[in-house]
Amino acid sequence: MITYVYYPGCVAQESGKELDNATKFIAEKLGINLLQMPEASCCGGGIIDGFDANLKLFINGRTLALAEKNGFDILTICNTCTLTLSEVNEEIKNNPALMKKTNAYLSKIRLKYEGNVKVKHLLYVLRDDIGLDKLKDVVVNSLNGIKVAPFYGCHILRPSEVIKFDDAENPSGFEELIKAVGGEPVSYVRRTKCCGFQTILIDEASSTSLSGNAIFEAQEQGADLMVTPCPLCHLSLDTYQNVAAKSIGKKLSLPVLHLPQLIGVALGGSYSEMGFSRHNVSLKPVMANINLK
């Protein structure tokens, strides 16, 4: 049993509940203990420093301090939460003035942060802490060489000064996981590009063209499925897929899975356990290929 403080982030607790459920499903199968932290707040959606840089520091410093008090590293399932928490963690650890400022606030709420927590995204917890061999051992429903397009997105790779899980120029962790559960990773250029989510409410046509371009390219490369480690990317890629199709003037129809859903299927998860009925693009056409019940 390996324990983490679980930080699902806001979207996975609301519109993306299926991600939270799938994470808990695979955690149980893999012997990962997810410690709940009901005090944790929103990280600020990756843009809260545009409102006030200190607010980003305080609310995320608080989350880090809560995890430190619990004595475990943080497990995240959202790229943007991962980057925001990691940025604040690095800033506090490397800048004594910011450490002091954050702790001045924390002391008023009876907390203290000393910089001992690591922030880890599920993708790299699976690769590094659980290990690909252990993962292979528990696969009961190998994915039969189905073609899976990994969509990394941005905040799990960049900036690599802060996010050091993988090679930002040519990452491989996602592909390794896909292979470990029996899928065949599809190679395409836009796997590390932006899904456009941050401006979806600001300039929808441009934003959804980004997700549309990525989906179209993956389709052209023969992908049966796309998988993403981020619920914000998932909103752009799945929920807005029809809009994206219109924005780029192409036909799009590619089911998009959350990372733990892909792993979950390989670990024997069913259609309802994985919450696939909540997806916009139906998984029905590919269900037979992946032995999904």
Partner: protein, 331 residues
């Protein structure tokens, strides 16, 4: 060491479409990609076209895509690329039209730099005797001249003055791919540099107001590519975020982007969480949401519409206190 350089080739005068050509090279250790290209040009194929000048990462001419990523050819070692990718694949920068082979047209990039008025505003522009002019013998510059370190001490801005206008960030920019009118990371970082300059006399806040219009600071997708791939370690995205903060603190909040961030802050202040529905309404208004009715409708069929009223996080008072602390920091 033998290796292959695969170059994008396109001469619009003779080629119907672009193609790639391979050159096998015998290189020396610690050769740069630019060395390799110059060797090809002088020994094998004089028609291969690319820009270069300083060969020491300071003029910004030799930016191109190397194995898919925008880099300075003169700052990139052949060795490390071969180790990682097994080949040196060179292509012109992205987001700019190709003139020939590895050379791109730069007008749109520099047009955007000009658009942000990359010079100090104020009296020197308006007053007849203070107009820009060549200094006469013995005449002194009337405004203080800062050394880079003084500028840093005054403004906290230590990176944007180092920009060499190489266009790597522009080439990698997520927004630029889909919105050709977007000002782009280099121009916006430069804008930040002028806004922070204590000598700049932008009395009516026109810089921030203009930058808050569509295609400006609020169109950044925060993909972090500009910071990741800047060969001079500049972070345009951090400058853009500072411009966001400055706009909001100066009540320049007419843009959807500003409303979006304020909506998120309000939601955190109320519940500790991000209320997806409320933030969307705060950003585009109920009317704006009507445009997305098909998305909303489909999502509601799937049970994906988030709750309008969220449960408060535990110890919500902590978060309220954080907001109060912000006001204290301001004072």
């Amino acid at each position: 060491m033998e290796f292959t350089v695969r170059s994008y080739r396109f001469n619009p005068e003779v080629d119907k479409q672009p193609y790639y050509k391979d050159y096998i090279l015998n290189g020396f250790p610690s050769m740069t990609v630019l060395n390799a290209l110059m060797k090809i040009k002088s020994e094998t194929d004089g028609s291969l076209t690319f820009r270069r000048s300083c060969r020491s990462a300071i003029c910004g001419s030799c930016a191109m895509k190397i194995n898919g990523i925008s880099k300075l050819a003169c700052k990139t070692q052949v060795n490390s690329e071969i180790t990682k990718f097994g080949i040196i694949k060179v292509e012109p920068l992205g987001n700019l039209p190709v003139v020939r082979d590895l050379v791109v047209e730069q007008e749109s990039f520099f047009g955007k730099i000009n658009e942000i008025k990359p010079y100090l505003l104020g009296i020197r522009e308006n007053s007849p005797d203070e107009k820009f002019h060549v200094l006469k013998d013995g005449e002194k510059i009337t405004q203080p001249v800062f050394h880079k370190s003084e500028f840093k001490a005054l403004t906290g801005n230590n990176d944007t003055p180092n920009c060499i206008l190489c266009e790597c960030c522009f080439s990698e920019c997520g927004t630029e791919v889909v919105n050709k009118k977007y000002l782009g990371p280099a121009a916006l970082a430069k804008l930040y540099r002028y806004i922070e300059d204590p000598r700049d006399n932008d009395r009516d806040g026109s810089r921030l107001v203009n930058a808050s219009k569509p295609n400006g600071i609020w169109d950044c997708v925060h993909c972090q590519a500009c910071e990741q791939f800047c060969p001079k370690s500049i972070s345009p995205v951090k400058s853009i975020v500072k411009l966001h903060e400055k706009a909001i603190k100066n009540s320049i909040t007419f843009s959807k982007g500003a409303k979006h961030i304020i909506g998120i802050a309000n939601s955190i202040n109320k519940t500790g969480r991000l209320n997806e529905v409320k933030v969307a309404i705060d950003t585009v208004g109920l009317l704006g949401l009507m445009n997305d009715l098909p998305v909303v409708f489909r999502a509601s069929l799937k049970g994906k519409i988030p709750s309008l009223k969220l449960k408060l996080i535990k110890d919500m008072d902590d978060i309220r206190l954080a907001f109060k602390e912000l006001d204290r920091e301001e004072e």
